[in-house]
C-alpha cells in the first residue's frame, strides 16, 4: 500500500496557480473519493497532488434563462440542492443514486467526469443535456462536447496541466419528461450493471423527441442515435416499444465482468426502455 503521507499535496488558491502545479507534474484531487481509494490500493501512483476543491471559480454555479454553468468542484450534494436542479429534474434523479450521503457531500462532478468511467452516474445527465466541458490549461481555455471529452474508459481529453473548470448545460426547451434508473445488486453504494437516463418530449401519448443515455453497456456512456430516431412518432407505452427495446440491446456493446455478463446487460438495457415507458406514460 502506497503511503499517502509521502505525497506532496498542494492547495492553490487560484486557477492559474493550480494549472502551473499540474503542468509541473501534479495530479488534481477534488473530493478524493476516487483518487484516495486509488492511491491506497496502488491503482494510481501520482507523485504529487493538487487540491482544487477550494478554488472559488470551481465552486460556483451560475445560470440565466438559457442554461447554467456548473463549477467542476461543486459536490453532488451542492448541485442536488441548487436552484439549477429545480430546472433540471434529471440532475436530481441521477445524482441521488451516487454512493450515500457522505460520498455525495464529498464527490464532485469534475471528478466524476475526469474518471471517465462508463458507469459514472453523473455523466448520464451531462450526455442528455449536450453539455460542453470547459477546460482551463497552460494554453488558455477551450470547450469540447462531453461526447468527445470522454474518449474511452478512464481516458478524458485532458492534456498535461489542464483541468476541468466547469460544465455548460442548456436548459431543454419545453420541459421534457425525465427518467433515470440504475440497475445493480442492491439499492445503495452500487456500481451500475446498466443504467438509463432519458428526456422525452410528448404530444399526448406520442413521442415527439427523445434523448437516451446508457451507462455500463459500452466503453463510454452511450447515446443510441438510431434508437432515439426510431422512437419519434411511437406511442409511449411498453407494448408499442417492444421492438425498439430489442433494437436498443443491439445498439449497445457491453462487456462481461465481475458484475454481469454482456448478454445480461444487453437485455437489461432493453428492459430499462420498457420500464421508462411504464413510468413516464
Amino acid at each position: 500500500m502506497r503511503n499517502l503521507e509521502q505525497l506532496d499535496v498542494e492547495h492553490p488558491r487560484s486557477l492559474e496557480e493550480a494549472v502551473e502545479l499540474l503542468a509541473a507534474g501534479g495530479q488534481a484531487v477534488a473530493g478524493g473519493t476516487d483518487l484516495v481509494v486509488g492511491v491506497r490500493t496502488a491503482r494510481q501512483t501520482p507523485n504529487r497532488l493538487v487540491y482544487v476543491g477550494q478554488i472559488r471559480e470551481l465552486k460556483q454555479i451560475v445560470h440565466d434563462s438559457q442554461g447554467a454553468r456548473i463549477g467542476a468542484a461543486v459536490s453532488h450534494a451542492e448541485l442536488f440542492e441548487s436552484t439549477v436542479a429545480d430546472r433540471l429534474p434529471i440532475l436530481r434523479q441521477a445524482l441521488s443514486t451516487i454512493g450515500g450521503p457522505a460520498i455525495r457531500a464529498m464527490g464532485t462532478l469534475g471528478g466524476n467526469a475526469a474518471n471517465a468511467s462508463p458507469a459514472a452516474d453523473g455523466l448520464i445527465p451531462l450526455y442528455l443535456l449536450d453539455t460542453q466541458v470547459d477546460i482551463f490549461g497552460p494554453d488558455g481555455e477551450r470547450s469540447v462536447p462531453i461526447q468527445s471529452f470522454i474518449r474511452g474508459p478512464g481516458s478524458p481529453d485532458l492534456h498535461p496541466g489542464e483541468l476541468i473548470r466547469s460544465f455548460t448545460v442548456r436548459f431543454p426547451r419545453e420541459n421534457p419528461l425525465s427518467y433515470f434508473r440504475k440497475v445493480g445488486r442492491r439499492r445503495a453504494l452500487v456500481i451500475a450493471i446498466a443504467s438509463l437516463g432519458s428526456l422525452v418530449w410528448v404530444d399526448g401519448d406520442r413521442i415527439r423527441a427523445a434523448r437516451l443515455a446508457l451507462g455500463s453497456v459500452a466503453p463510454t456512456v452511450l447515446r443510441p442515435a438510431r434508437v432515439e430516431e426510431a422512437l419519434v412518432g411511437c406511442d409511449l407505452n411498453a407494448p408499442a416499444l417492444a421492438d425498439i427495446a430489442r433494437q436498443l440491446g443491439d445498439e449497445t456493446c457491453p462487456i462481461d465482468d465481475v458484475r454481469a455478463s454482456a448478454d445480461y446487460r444487453r437485455r437489461v438495457a432493453g428492459s430499462l426502455l420498457l420500464d421508462m415507458a411504464e413510468h413516464l406514460q
Binding site: L7, H11, T33, L49, G100, A102, I103, L189
Partner: protein
Amino acid sequence: MKLAFELNSRPVVLDVPPGRRLLDLLRDDLGLIGTKEGCGEGECGACTVLVDGSPKLACLMLAAQLPGCSVVTVEGLAQTGELHPLQKAFIDHGAVQCGFCTPGLLMASYALLQRHPQPSRQTVRDYLAGNLCRCTGYDQVVEAVLSVSRGGQRI
C-alpha cells in the same frame, strides 16, 4: 503543513503531512478514538464525521482539505458529559450491539436530523444507506432515529 481547523467547537493547530488522513489525525494525533476505521475505502461509513455540517468520510479526507473547516466527531455529541438524545435513543432501542458501526451511524443520523427534523422512515433508511452494520439488522437503528424526531428534541 501547518493545519488550523476547528474540532468539536475548539480551535486546533497541528503540524501534519498534507496527505495525512483525517481519520489518522483524529485517532493517532489527537487521541479521539471514537471515529472508527472499517474498510478504509469509503464503503462502510464507520468513519463518518461532520465537516462544515455535512457528513464526510474521515478515511478519504486529507489534511490538505481541512484548513478552516469545522469538524464534529462522536466525541462532540456528548461534550457536556451527558449523552446526546440520539445516543440515549440508540441505547434504549437496542441499536448498539458490538458498537463498531455506532459512531458513524450516530454522526450520519445527527446530520440527517439537522437537515430533516421530522424524517419519514424511508428518508431515514435512505440517509443511512452508506453505513453498514453487521449486527443489528438496522431496524433498531431506524427506530432510535425516529424516536428522537418524534420526541421533538432540538438536535
